[in-house]
Symmetry: C2
Subunit: 318 residues, 2 copies
Amino acid sequence: MRLYNRENILRVVNSPDIISVIEKAFQSYSDKTVQSGTVVHLAFTDPPGDFHIKSAHLAGAPVFVVKMASSFYENPSRGVPSSNGIMMVFDAATGHPEGVLLDEGALTDMRTAIAGAVAARLIAPANPERLGVIGSGTQARVQAEWIARVLGIRDVQIWARDMEKASTLATTLSENGLSATPQASMEALCADCDLVVTTTPSRTPLITKAMIRPGLRVVAIGTDTPGKQEVSDEVMAAADAILVDSFDQCSEYGDTASALARGIVDRERIQEIGQALNNAFCLNLPPEAIAVADLTGIGALDAAIAEFAFHQLTARTV
Amino acid sequence: MRLYNRENILRVVNSPDIISVIEKAFQSYSDKTVQSGTVVHLAFTDPPGDFHIKSAHLAGAPVFVVKMASSFYENPSRGVPSSNGIMMVFDAATGHPEGVLLDEGALTDMRTAIAGAVAARLIAPANPERLGVIGSGTQARVQAEWIARVLGIRDVQIWARDMEKASTLATTLSENGLSATPQASMEALCADCDLVVTTTPSRTPLITKAMIRPGLRVVAIGTDTPGKQEVSDEVMAAADAILVDSFDQCSEYGDTASALARGIVDRERIQEIGQALNNAFCLNLPPEAIAVADLTGIGALDAAIAEFAFHQLTARTV
């Protein structure tokens, strides 16, 4: 049994190979060669918190993975982070526990960011110059970093409900080699940027029909549980192409679910990211096409990034 | 984050307090103050194996627990045990991981044995002298040890399909202070013993109506998943009292389920162990009463024993 901390793990996963690891996990998921366990949810009230267990085995992989993740909302007032996570790696030939990845949620943050970047590359227009970011939390930062890296973008605009936080994030990103500035409104952001990524826990749509223009591309990350929505039903209905990480999950929640339930979205326009990647890295949409990628988070990506991390870590210590 | 191995863990749980810990978990379960996560099952085919995740939080407990347990059937041919298990302990106030109990399944074996002993005490006749054990595996051994300890019994008879294994177990138990002998048939075992415990993975009933007599008491441990059955429907129908660990689970599988579905068991005769313990440690049945305790295994007991172990371990290392 081996135990690795966040620092060990981040050192090995920051590799150019990680993008293809995530792409292959999307493809395996859409090819239905991933065995995923039922998602477990424990709800705590005093103090309030949510705890989830996701588990998955990618066919042929030497290990399978159980991820346990928590969000306890009063933690910051106790001086500890609200979110945390741990992944357990098991030998798929014997069932024996092999390793504990004490990543504190970093692997989830990273696989979500890379998933966003992979989706962004699929729907991005040719030669994108400016990325718009909505939100100012961890995902706002890592999506900006990974999308900019994968698409070769340098200019980033940020809008957040709290503009002070948007400014702070702009400073952070600028210190890390991007040219980032706060933007005064979502309308201006959608008008100026080639691609917009949404990273909020919003429960009312942020991107509405009035904000969209021909050629707008949106990667929607925040909507991961029932009740949340970042992109309005009318925008989903106006989209020429919709990418989803999981058709099953996005039919139940995610930004697509409500428009799909109302029957205003053509199912033919919806495609899973894994299916799209089976054809090409890029959808090659016409310049004026509107496209949305709707990500809800799938256990297959957790299993893939944990397997990659564990393999790198054990190869180094043998 | 603290990590403890099997040896550390077994040292601290071997305490007289552990029985009341298990009793309280039964009571909490029946009082519906336990939050239990959906049970996750991953099925492997190449090589064949089963993997389960159980999770639970006992109301008011400072920690909650996730148990991951595996049975990979070809492991012995690779020189490793077929079953394994690990328990993760989380802080119920912050959701943060606090400890890894690398018990290799020992805590599950132990909580199952103590659950059997608690059930045995509830249904045992006055002054029991002889315990019958059906089976020869780990649970046969630990049930014999714990039931003998809790009821003050010294004489043990053992029947198993493989009588060589029954003899080996008799020798092992005799070396540990009991007077244990193999018994030639289940009929003779049921006739001679005050209390019988069944610990097999049988898929056809072992204890049938022809074997029972007034006053027989049976603790049925082996039937923990659909398809298994150790006690026949007719024996269940003849029982004056039936104890179950979980009415919900024992209605779906367990030895009670099929007789209950056939409508030949009076629901009024069925009681949860936790409900019974709310009244007394012993049901005080009339001497001629037939009684069966049907255990399927509940996550509340995993959470209780892991919490106890973790508390003892951390108290020692502070």
